[in-house]
Symmetry: C2
Subunit: 256 residues, 2 copies
């Protein structure tokens, strides 16, 4: 895999601490701008950013393009810049389970495969998406020089673990309606986390994808959405939905 080189705005020598990049608006090809958007990487020192810059490359994917495929040699780690990526596992019976949506810039993709020879999942862009990728073979070198990097990775992995645990609890103990309500609330949170204003939450997944994420069939998903609508919790719109009453939604997501 190969891509476009990234660069960092030159900053007066001696300025070693992290800080917002001077570009206004942000430049998609400037590593500092990219990392400033990220929860994890924004606090990296300039040196660490420079070290990353040396090995990071930039690449674009269109809808339905695969970042990587389950079973292929696992060579790279990905950092989301913009767009959305779904990561899923295929089962012997042909079904798919989406276990992760990367939507927030800075989200790390494939960190679970860091120590595996082959990717354990498939990652697919669900809209036009920009990422940078970091060949894994360079990581030991980067890590040995910059202790902030493993710390950053560990923070990201720990956050992922918590996300998965919540997902497991939802899948294991909630019925379809509760799961759908939980997902909509989750979407609402990330929406705010990204500082988006609009009342309407745009849904980027198809009904079938959403069903594959929350572990039900499309039929059941739609039944649950209708139920939420009839309970006045949400309104379905053209390509998304609006939350009418967050309390009702929370009540329905908990189940009794």
């Amino acid at each position: 895999m190969s891509g476009v080189k990234l660069w960092i705005q030159e900053i007066p020598a001696g300025d070693n601490v992290a800080g917002p990049c001077p570009h206004k608006p942000a430049d998609d090809r400037c590593l500092s701008c990219i990392l400033d958007d990220s929860d994890y990487f924004s606090t990296l020192s300039l040196q660490a950013k420079r070290a990353l810059q040396e090995f990071l490359e930039f690449k674009s994917f269109n809808r339905h393009a695969l970042l990587y495929r389950e079973g292929r040699a696992s060579d790279d780690l990905f950092i989301l810049i913009s767009g959305q990526v779904k990561v899923y596992k295929s089962l012997p019976n042909g079904r798919q389970q989406i276990h992760k949506l990367a939507v927030i810039p800075g989200d790390l993709i494939a960190c679970e495969d860091l120590y595996l020879d082959r990717y354990s999942s498939t990652a697919e862009a669900i809209c036009t998406t920009n990422v940078c990728f970091l060949p894994k073979r360079h990581l030991p070198q980067i890590i040995s020089r910059h202790q902030e990097i493993p710390d950053t990775l560990m923070r990201s992995m720990a956050r992922n673990l918590n996300f998965y645990i919540r997902h497991i609890a939802n899948l294991g103990q909630k019925n379809a309606l509760e799961r759908v309500a939980s997902y909509l609330l989750f979407l609402h949170e990330t929406h705010h986390e990204r500082n988006l204003r609009s009342e309407e939450l745009r849904e980027s997944l198809t009904r079938t994808e959403l069903a594959d994420m929350i572990g039900v069939t499309q039929r059941t998903l739609i039944r649950s959405l209708k139920k939420l609508e009839s309970e006045q919790a949400i309104v379905l719109t053209r390509d998304g939905f609006v939350i009418l009453d967050k309390n009702i939604l929370e009540y329905l997501s908990a189940g009794d």
Copy 2:
């Protein structure tokens, strides 16, 4: 939380590489013996082990005792020495979802809460269990001195991520029978991984706990076990089961 100090067998100066501890049989209070059993820690250098030793403490728990409780201040990281621990999350509706069983010596417990103020789950001993715990506040110091430590932690976290992803796929896309079959196969694998010989796999969870793990009710779990028995895949025994035909089990775990 406080416990008993661990120690390391003195080894001639200059011997800096990792190696099996000379104790035969292994000594439960000797850190080297403990770590030798672990996939992750066994390769640590002697210096790193010594650094850990300084902060690790040993503690025992009886069945049903809690290592920590969801919502309490998250101060420690745990390493399993012997016994078994279940880690679960409680939901608003009163149900529990077990997301992790620590059964193999060296298993890390609570690493998902490393960067959180409070534990996000509850950990409970399901039999007499020995662990050591490491106060999190000492980690930055240990990490800055020994780069192998974050690497070890990351390996463990990556493995956990993969385990969770598989669990999510099972919960989301398999029916009860397939999940039960998958779990039994998983148990069979860990059994071998621990070099246990007996044909009979001892089940340490109650039916209800097992149900809480695979996300079904106890009623459904038993239905599925009976089905597996009637298909000649397994035989239920006094306190465990025997796999009669691994192929049948694999076939049933895949679903078509």
